[in-house]
């Protein structure tokens, strides 16, 4: 009985306290891709992700019922930092779902207008003002949102003193953005304004910061400090996440020490090393350093024979180019083809099924069209050109004239080999700080899978290989799908089972791929290389040596009539890729998350099928 009454009471109170309109709720997930496009078009940085975010803690003045229900301490607001724009996972501020949807778009537009926020109150007004001026079509929508927002503001009669003044200032600022300069100071937080952008939360401030602890975790009160320089600086530190916990600082020291001892990886960027902190952002690098330090240990880390993929054959000896001697070192590399024979056949995973279907449909429409071939000995129609020539040049041999046009077999004469970098650096997480759950290798795997799905529906012959290396004696050349095998569950299983390997001896892998492609009889042979950074290995294969050898391998491929094209996710690819592959033969993909969709598109562009 007590429980029953308690439950009733809870329901009653929560209903009393309720200010959200659950029936008008709009989910972020349903709008995400539209919002992303909108964000970019509005001038937001294309590299930023749009992500859902949970409610944030605020401390506004609450009504009795709200206090009793324990609600209204967390609010869904929109904020952004270096990594991305965070929008509430759902919105139910307004009674009309169209308004809630409009709020998402408004927040996105405002966020694009306001990439960094210094002063919550002033910046939001200024940005709103600018945005409405720049895009007058937004004004009507803003008016509606502003009115709806004002209705949700606290009743002025319940407030008094500084709180009343502050609330009046906020309401005035919503009504006429840019009209109020200063926000009066009052106790607690003002009720959050959903149509404004909030600064990134300061959760991760270092404990020894001299910041007032009361102010932590609550960006909305930044407005109190008109002198915002200090706070802003702290926020930048926060984004770097380099001065958080003490433990982390020690780790800094370790890495620094290792780096100095080893003299590895740093010869290319000695200048950059002046700030250790910056280096630490890139988790992949430090991992590599550690692995490089324990070279002996590392070799022991190779999987044992029974756990490893099946080596195919004895291995293939390949030359390597030594730029210092300007000569090949014969049989220097031992390339070992590997086959993941224990990978189970698999279907397309659920999360990719939709994309795979769309791509398949699109690509199956691009099956090569039947085209006319001129001057055929027999065919469906007379070739008028050939006939005219015959008539006008009577001296020519009248026999054996090919006077017909015929439709040819619908086959595009194009073979494509996709070579993926499966080095250890692909084990890194996504995102600027590498702290996302999804790893680079996951994206590469999805990319290969979608690419395979797309190409299997065009009928173009294609093969997929992956590579990684441990010095010159073991270049692992992973056979994922070869040209002769039909694409099916078997190959898909192998694609899904790829694991990040070791280093990137790119030259040897390209040479072997050239050999594979040479056997294809197609007229056009395309070698797509999917990479995440410069060639490197733990022996001398790094820096200039690796670059020169790779470049040599690319030139060899071109001489064989193969067209290499590199797709990289390395933002600094522009620095060295023109030298490796040539000006027109590479593409840098900035937004890794879109790579799986972009690669098939790129294939269409490269092969001129859609253009």
């Amino acid at each position: 009985m007590e429980e029953f009454v308690g439950e009733l009471w809870h329901k009653l109170i929560t209903r009393q306290a309720q200010t959200d309109f659950a029936e008008a709720k709009v989910e972020f997930a349903s709008l995400q891709s539209q919002l992303a496009t909108y964000f970019r078009a509005m001038g937001g940085e294309p590299g930023k992700n749009l992500e859902g975010t949970g409610p944030r803690a605020f401390n506004p003045k609450r009504r009795l019922a709200q206090r009793m229900a324990g609600s209204h301490r967390h609010f869904a607001v929109c904020w952004q930092d270096d990594r991305g724009l965070r929008l509430p996972i759902s919105l139910a501020y307004f009674p009309d779902s169209a308004l809630n949807e409009a709020l998402y778009f408004w927040q996105t537009a405002l966020a694009a207008q306001l990439p960094t926020i210094r002063h919550w109150f002033a910046d939001n007004q200024q940005a709103t003002h600018d945005l409405l001026k720049k895009r007058p079509g937004l004004a009507a929508g803003y008016q509606q949102l502003a009115e709806a927002t004002l209705k949700t503001r606290p009743d002025l009669e319940t407030l008094k003193g500084p709180e009343l003044e502050r609330e009046l200032a906020i309401q005035q600022a919503i009504r006429e953005p840019g009209s109020v300069d200063q926000l009066p100071i009052a106790v607690g937080d003002p009720l959050p304004v959903p149509i404004w952008i909030y600064p990134a939360p300061l959760y991760a401030l270092s404990p020894d910061s001299d910041d007032d602890l009361d102010d932590m975790g609550d960006g909305s009160r930044a407005e109190k400090q008109l002198n915002t320089g200090r706070k802003q600086a702290e926020r930048i530190d926060d984004a770097k996440q380099t001065d958080g916990l003490l433990v982390f600082k020690l780790e800094c020291l370790f890495t620094w020490a290792e780096q100095v001892d080893l003299d590895r990886c740093q010869e290319e960027n000695l200048d950059d090393d002046s700030s250790t902190a910056d280096d630490l952002d890139i988790i992949t690098l430090s991992r590599k350093r550690r692995a490089g330090a324990a070279r002996l240990k590392f070799d022991l880390d190779l999987p044992s024979a029974q756990n490893d993929d099946l080596p195919v054959g004895e291995g293939i000896r390949l030359p390597e180019w030594d730029y210092r001697k300007q000569a090949y070192i014969k049989d220097y590399c031992l390339l070992q083809p590997m086959l993941a024979d224990d990978a189970l056949p698999a279907a397309v995973p659920d999360y990719l099924r939709n994309q795979a279907r769309v791509l398949k449909n699109r690509f199956s429409m691009l099956r090569p069209q039947r085209t006319w071939q001129r001057r055929q000995p027999y065919g469906d129609e007379i070739d008028l050109d050939a006939w005219l020539e015959l008539k006008t040049q009577p001296l020519r041999n009248e026999e054996h004239q090919d006077l017909y046009r015929a439709r040819n077999n619908p086959q595009r004469d194009l073979a494509c080999l996709l070579l993926s970098d499966l080095s250890m650096s692909t084990d890194a997480g996504l995102g600027a700080n590498g702290d996302s759950d999804q790893r680079v290798i996951d994206v590469i795997r999805d990319t290969m899978l979608l690419f395979a799905e797309a190409l299997s529906s065009t009928g173009d012959p294609f093969a997929i290989y992956g590579f990684s290396s441990v010095k010159n004696k073991q270049v692992r050349y992973q056979l994922l799908k070869n040209f002769s095998e039909a694409y099916g569950d078997q190959a898909r299983g192998r694609l899904l089972a790829v694991k990040p390997g070791f280093y990137t001896r790119m030259g040897a892998a390209i040479r072997q791929s050239t050999e594979v492609l040479k056997l294809q009889k197609s007229q056009q042979r395309l070698m797509l290389i999917l990479s995440d950074g410069k060639p490197n290995d733990i022996d001398r294969y790094e820096g200039r040596y690796g670059i020169e050898d790779t470049r040599r391998a690319v030139i060899e491929a071109k001489q064989q009539g193969i067209q290499p094209f590199c797709v990289t996710i390395d933002e600094r690819g522009n620095d060295y890729l023109p030298y490796l592959f040539g000006e027109q033969c590479y593409a840098v993909v900035n937004d890794l998350a879109r790579l799986p969709v972009l690669l098939p598109k790129l294939y269409l562009n490269l092969t001129g099928i859609s253009a």
């Binding site: 007058p136 050109d385 395309l526 001129g608």
Partner: protein, 258 residues
């Protein structure tokens, strides 16, 4: 000289073209779709007072389509000059639009024309025509399509004076849109702002950016009485994408402007 064609220079392209023409050098123009390449060539032809022979290249265009072929008339066979040959004989500008689309063999006939020889050998008649002093070869292509199979060979590119075109600056584009369509300045400004928003989506959501031409189309539709949002949807959203999600986002963007 009276010139009815409107062209607003973005830089020194008129002078460069003029100088190339005076020195009898061929010109290569590259730039994205609808940024004014063809208009520029038309303008320059009028400016120089030379006839213009335009050939829109397609993937079935053969060398004989350019050079000419034998035909049969009432009195037997006769030779019919193609547009290139006509321009070479009579003088004038031969403009090959989107030249990379043409078959590979067509570019070979351009080689002797585009270096110091300035001759056109016609294999079928055994004739070698020396180019008229007023003959000028102009080709254009869109480097935006990174295409490995169809590309201009370096040996071909090397023979041309090259110019790169891009969409004009917003202020200039407003003037162009007003001029071409007759809309008021404010509408033109909004259209150009919308166009620039859409151009940010290139490579990301759209394969190609909204061209100046499309902005002019939209302005013309508005000028003829269509509502602004209808015109923008028809001219700036639908032509650029087939993806429903992208279209919705562009619709929203249009609403943000009008």
């Amino acid at each position: 000289m009276a010139n009815d064609i409107h062209y607003l220079p973005q830089g020194r392209e008129i002078e460069i073209f003029q100088t190339a023409a005076n020195n009898k050098l061929p010109v290569l123009i590259k730039g994205p779709t609808g940024c004014g390449k063809t208009r520029f060539v038309e303008y320059m032809a009028a400016e120089l007072g030379r006839p213009l022979h335009t050939v829109a290249c397609h993937d079935d265009l053969t060398a004989s389509d350019l050079v000419g072929r034998h035909l049969i008339g009432a009195d037997g066979t006769y030779w019919q000059d193609g547009p290139l040959t006509r321009a070479v004989r009579e003088g004038g500008i031969c403009y090959l639009d989107e030249v990379v689309e043409a078959r590979k063999d067509t570019t070979v006939v351009l080689h002797p024309l585009s270096d110091h020889r300035r001759v056109l050998p016609i294999e079928r008649t055994g004739e070698t025509i020396e180019a008229h002093p007023d003959f000028m070869l102009v080709i254009s292509y869109n480097p935006g399509y990174q295409n490995l199979i169809k590309g201009l060979k370096p040996s071909t590119r090397q023979r041309f004076v090259a110019m790169s075109f891009d969409y004009p600056d917003p202020e200039q584009e407003v003037v162009i849109v007003c001029q071409e369509s007759g809309v008021d300045k404010q509408t033109a400004q909004q259209l150009v702002a919308l166009g620039n928003d859409l151009r940010r989506l290139k490579d990301h959501d759209l394969e190609e950016a909204a061209s100046t031409r499309l902005l002019i189309y939209a302005a013309m539709m508005i000028q003829s009485g269509l509502t602004q949002s209808e015109a923008c949807t028809a001219c700036l959203a639908q032509p650029l994408s087939d993806e429903p999600e992208t279209l919705v986002a562009i619709e929203r963007l249009i609403q943000a402007h009008f």
